[in-house]
């Protein structure tokens, strides 16, 4: 069996041989534990290691599985009970969400293009022609300070 494990770790088995090897491995818990240990050593050598004790993995996964699952809507599913969930309800919510997302995307694309060129820039305060701003203030302002500042228009 250890030979089989080495072959799997070293990627020597392909196709049906790999399927057969993995099937055999799953039938022997001690072999599975050895596989995980070998895999961890291999991961450490490749600097791809996360601190997981193979002995603990099954216990932790078992505890997690037994924990009740809390959904956003407050519904609690007891994983140890025989309670059943109507997944069609969530499918419907998912479908409605998709429709809403498409509708919002369509509206944003269409309304933002009204009356504008497809290659327009959004107006920024700094990008407005200074000559235009000065001409507006110098012809309409009541503020003597603005009027004096707007008096100079270079290069006209």
């Amino acid at each position: 069996m250890s030979e089989n494990i080495s072959s799997i770790i070293d990627n020597e088995l392909k196709g049906k041989d790999l399927d057969h090897g993995l099937n055999e491995l799953s039938k022997h818990s001690s072999a599975l534990s050895s596989y995980r240990t070998y895999q961890m050593i291999s991961d450490v050598m490749r600097n791809d290691y996360y601190d997981v004790n193979p002995e603990l993995t099954d216990k932790i996964m078992s505890k997690i599985h037994d924990e009740p699952t809390q959904f956003n809507n407050g519904f609690i599913r007891n994983n140890q009970s025989t309670a059943t969930i109507d997944y069609r309800k969530y499918l419907l919510v998912f479908a409605l969400g998709l429709i809403a997302a498409f509708a919002i995307s369509w509206a944003v694309n269409n309304f933002s293009n009204i009356g504008s060129s497809s290659s327009s820039d959004f107006l920024a305060a700094d990008s407005i022609s200074q000559e235009i701003i000065e001409d507006h203030f110098s012809t309409t302002t009541r503020n003597p300070n603005y009027f004096l500042e707007a008096g100079y228009q270079p290069n006209i």
């Binding site: 327009s120 107006l123 022609s129 503020n143 003597p144 290069n155």
Partner: protein, 314 residues
Amino acid sequence: MFRLLLLICLFISGAASSNELWLKISEASKASHDLNYSGIINTTDSNQDIQSTKMIHVNHEGEEFLKIEKIDGADNLLLMHEADAVIYDNDQNKILIKKKKDAHLFPNIFPSNLDKLKDSYSIGDGGTFRVAGRATQMLVLSPIDENRYNYHLWLDKESHLPLKMMVIDNNKKVVENIAFANIEFLKSQDISWFRPNINNDIAYSINENKNIEETVRKFWTINDLPSGFEEVSYSAKRYAGLNAIAHQIIYSDGLSYISIFIHPVAKNQKPQVGSSKRGSSNIHAEYKKGYQILAVGAVPMQTLSYITNKVKLN
């Protein structure tokens, strides 16, 4: 029956009160042209930046003479005789002389046709306040719709001259604040001060306003303007930065001003759309048929957006 009579009496007294307040506006307008006065004017913009200018106004034998000097920043000077204004712009090592016309500078802020204001604003008495060491009456000009802002005016009780003005937007935020910090009423009509202080060490050059005088075919129409607004001015000139001729049409309701600029967009430039803000003015831009439409004014953004939408290019 008694209640009906009471209501009629209240209506008549209210109308008379409103007429009296409008009469005060008329007196304020006349005072700003006729009286001789000098003082310091402080202006505060929406960023709370305060700038000060020193001014003197004299009505000499029926002709108005005005001199305004900047106290803060560049040493700029304005001399204005009737509608003709000359600005001496001190650009460090040279003085640029620029001619302008028809400025409505504080405290001379009112239109020639005061009745026009009644179409766009209602008037109310805001009470008595002290401004620049003098007793004033505050008048509130409230817009009849949401296309313009509120104007608060503090009129000198003795002379009726406006001593302070605040423009307040529809969110009760002050967008413009102009006030005399001090004022002196002059008895003399002397105008010996009406000349620039020539500095022989600095070069002077004339920066002429090169408006295009020829008749321009107006290739646009702007119909259904917001209530009260009408065209008061039009000009066209070449803007070096845009490398194009831009047309400026100014609309006003008597107090609020909106400039509409229309110019072609060069091939190497991108048109702009959307809204922005510069100082006390909002700005809204749209792009139509190869032309940039730009509306600028101290009015609500929706007013600018409405007008740019109404611009039709033929």
